[in-house]
Symmetry: C2
C-alpha cells in the first residue's frame, strides 16, 4: 500500500535569503539518501525541490518565503523498516531546522501517514466535509445495488459499519442513534401501531419489536429518489448477515408475529394507508438525513421530504408522534431550513429536537 | 493558508504501456493550465510528473504500473474561485480516466483538502494515531507553561477544547467523560470526603460540588513527571476563563465552602495524608491516561502510575472507591497492562470497567 506523510514546519522568516538558507541546510539530508534532486525557484514564491529515490519513493520540499516549509513524502513500504527510515529522515530535518532557527520555530506538525490505494479505505469524511480516518481493518461486504454502493466495513471500536454511497450510515456501536430516533426511551411502544420508513439496517425494527408493539410495518422504498438511503433489498441482505448486533434476527424473515417488512415504494403505500384510514401511533422516518442542499426550491429532495412529511401526518393519529433524524450539527443552515419545512405542512405541528453523540459518526447529531 | 488536495484513482492495468497511455491522456489537462511539466520515468516504477504554475501552486501526478494513479495538488488560494478551479481540473482528470478505461475504474477517491500553515490547526490525531480533522474555528488560548503547551481551541460542535501538548484532553461537550469518571451517576457523593488527583479543567470538581459533598480536595501536581497532564496553574487559568461550561465558577477561587484546590505535587500530599491517617470515600485519578507505552519495566511513567495507585489505596477507606480513566479502546495492549498493574498493588483490589463515548475524542474510551 502506498502512503504519504505530510510534515509542516512553520517559522517566522521573511526574506528570500532565508529560503535559500533553508534549502542549503536541508539538501544534504536528502542527498545522503541517494535521492535525485530537481530544484524549481519561483523567486517570489520560494522553492519546490523534488527528491526522487530509485525505489519509486519521492519527496517534495516546498519552501515558502513567508516562513512555511512543507515536506511531503510518498513511499511504498509496508514494512516497519521503511517507516522507521522516514521517521529518521524527518527527525533529521526537524533537528536541522531547529539549529538553523535557533529553536525559534512556531509549529512543527507531522500528520499520521495517509494510506492510499489499499484494499481497505479508512477515510470517510464527515457530513460537513472534514477528513476522518476510521480504524477499519476489514471489508466485510462491498456490493453495488441498482441504487447505490453498499459497503459494510469492520472497525475495531465501532464494530461493522454500514456505508451507503460513501456516507457513513450506522455502526453496530450506534445504538444511541436508534434509541434517539425512537424517542430516547421516553416512549411506550407496548401495543402500539408503528410505521418505519426506511430503516433497512433493521436497528429500529429490532429494538421496537422487543417492546411488544401491536404491529410494526417497515416500508423499504425501492427506487433511487434519494441519493443515499438505506432502502434496498441488498442493504437488508448485507445487514442481516453482517450487522446482527444492530438487527438481531429480525431481518431473517420479512414477516414476524408483530412486524412486516414491505420492499415497496413508501409513497404509494402511504397514500393507500391515508385513503384506507389506516392510522399509526408512531411514524419513524429513517429514510435519509436532512438534505445538505440549502436551496429547497431547486432541489427535488426537499420536495420529496415535504411530501413524505405531509403523507406521514395523514396516517398519524391525533396524539401520534413522528420521529426523524436531523443531520450533522454543523450544517445549521440545512437544519434551519428543515424546521421551516415543518411550518409549511398542511397541518400545524409541534416539534422538539435533541442532540445525540453517535459514536461512529464522529460528530454530534441533532 | 496553503492547502493540499489528494486524489486517488485506482485501476486495473498491469502494463508499462498503460502507464504511458495514462500520461498521454492527462498531460493536456495540466498543460492547458499553463503549468510547466517535469517528467521522471522510473521504467519499472512508473512515472512521477510534476506540474508547476507561476503562482506557486504545483501538482504531482504519480502513475504506478500496478494500476494506481495519485494526483496531489498544493495551492495557496483561500478564495472559492481557486477551489472551484481545482475541482474543475480534477473533474476533467476523472472524466479522461473514465474514457480511457471505459468506466472500468475500481475506485476514485478525492479526500477533503488538508489545510496547512494556518493560524488554526484542525488536525489532532487520536490516541491510536488516526488522522482526524476537527471543526476548529478559533484559537482561544495558546500558552506554554513550564510543563507543557496549553491550547484551548473552539470547535463549533464540541465547544472549547482543551489540548495539552497536542493531546485532546476535554471539550465542553464532554460531560459524559466527567460523569463516567465519577461513577456514571451511580454514586452518592452527599456528605462524602473526595480526593481528586489532577482534574485541572475543573469539570469533576464542578460536578461533585453540586452534589453537596462534605469536602473535596483537588491536588494539582506541579511538576512534569507526566508528559501530558492537566496539572498546572496555567491550565487552571485558561480553563476558568474559557471552559466555563465545564468548570462553572468553581476555579474562580481555590477554596470554597466544601472544596479546596492545592497547587502542589500530589505525591508528598498523598504521603502526608497516609501518615496522618486522613481517609477518603472516593479517590478520582484524572492525572493522565494510561500510558501508551507497553514496556512498563523500562518506562518510569508506569512506575509513577503504580506509585499513585499504591498511595491512593492507602488513603482510601475500607469501602472507598477509586475511579480513573483508561485510554482509547484500540490500545488494548496498554489497557491489559494497566489491569496487570492493578494486580501488583500492595493490597488486593476489585475492579470493573465501562466504555463511554466521549464526543470530542472521536473514539470510544473504557
Amino acid at each position: 500500500m502506498w502512503w504519504k506523510i505530510l510534515t509542516d514546519y512553520f517559522f517566522s522568516f521573511n526574506l528570500a535569503a532565508d529560503c535559500n538558507a533553508v534549502l542549503k541546510a536541508l539538501q544534504p539530508i536528502f542527498q545522503e539518501q541517494g535521492m535525485t534532486e530537481t530544484v524549481h525557484n519561483w523567486e517570489d514564491h520560494g522553492y519546490l525541490v523534488t527528491y526522487i529515490k530509485k525505489n519509486g519513493s519521492f519527496a517534495n520540499l516546498r519552501i515558502h518565503p513567508h516562513g512555511l516549509v512543507l515536506v511531503d513524502l510518498q513511499s511504498y513500504n509496508d514494512d516497519m523498516k521503511g517507516r522507521q527510515e522516514v521517521d529518521q529522515l524527518l527527525n533529521k530535518v526537524e533537528e536541522r531546522m531547529k539549529e538553523l532557527f535557533h529553536g525559534n520555530i512556531k509549529r512543527v506538525k507531522r500528520l499520521p501517514a495517509i494510506l492510499r490505494g489499499g484494499v481497505i479505505d479508512r477515510y470517510w469524511p464527515t457530513a460537513d466535509g472534514r477528513l476522518v480516518e476510521y480504524d477499519i481493518d476489514e471489508v466485510v461486504y462491498d456490493e453495488d445495488s441498482p441504487f447505490q454502493n453498499i459497503k459494510i466495513l469492520h472497525s475495531k471500536q465501532f464494530g461493522n459499519i454500514l456505508i451507503l454511497s460513501g456516507d457513513v450510515n450506522l455502526a453496530e456501536s450506534d445504538l444511541a442513534y436508534t434509541q434517539a430516533i425512537m424517542g430516547s426511551g421516553k416512549e411506550d411502544y407496548t401495543g402500539k401501531e408503528v410505521l418505519i420508513l426506511g430503516g433497512g439496517d433493521g436497528g429500529i425494527l429490532y429494538e421496537i419489536v422487543k417492546l411488544k408493539p401491536k404491529m410494526v410495518t417497515m416500508v423499504e422504498i425501492s427506487f433511487d429518489k434519494v441519493a443515499s438511503s438505506n432502502i434496498d433489498q441488498m442493504v437488508i441482505d448485507g445487514c442481516k448477515k453482517h450487522m446482527r448486533k444492530t438487527c438481531g434476527d429480525v431481518l431473517d424473515n420479512l414477516k414476524g408475529e408483530c412486524y412486516q417488512v414491505l420492499i415497496e415504494d413508501c409513497i404509494p403505500v402511504l397514500k393507500r394507508y391515508a385513503k384506507e384510514g389506516r392510522m399509526f401511533d408512531y411514524v419513524i422516518n429513517d429514510l435519509t438525513a436532512v438534505p445538505i442542499s440549502t436551496s429547497p426550491e431547486e432541489d427535488s429532495t426537499w420536495e420529496f421530504l415535504r411530501l413524505i412529511l405531509d403523507l406521514s401526518m395523514k396516517v398519524l393519529k391525533q396524539d401520534g408522534k413522528y420521529f426523524t433524524q436531523g443531520n450533522c450539527i454543523n450544517l445549521t443552515d440545512a437544519l434551519t431550513l428543515y424546521e421551516e419545512q415543518l411550518s409549511r405542512l398542511y397541518c400545524p405541528v409541534e416539534f422538539s429536537k435533541e442532540t445525540v453523540c453517535v459514536p461512529s459518526y464522529m460528530e454530534l447529531y441533532p
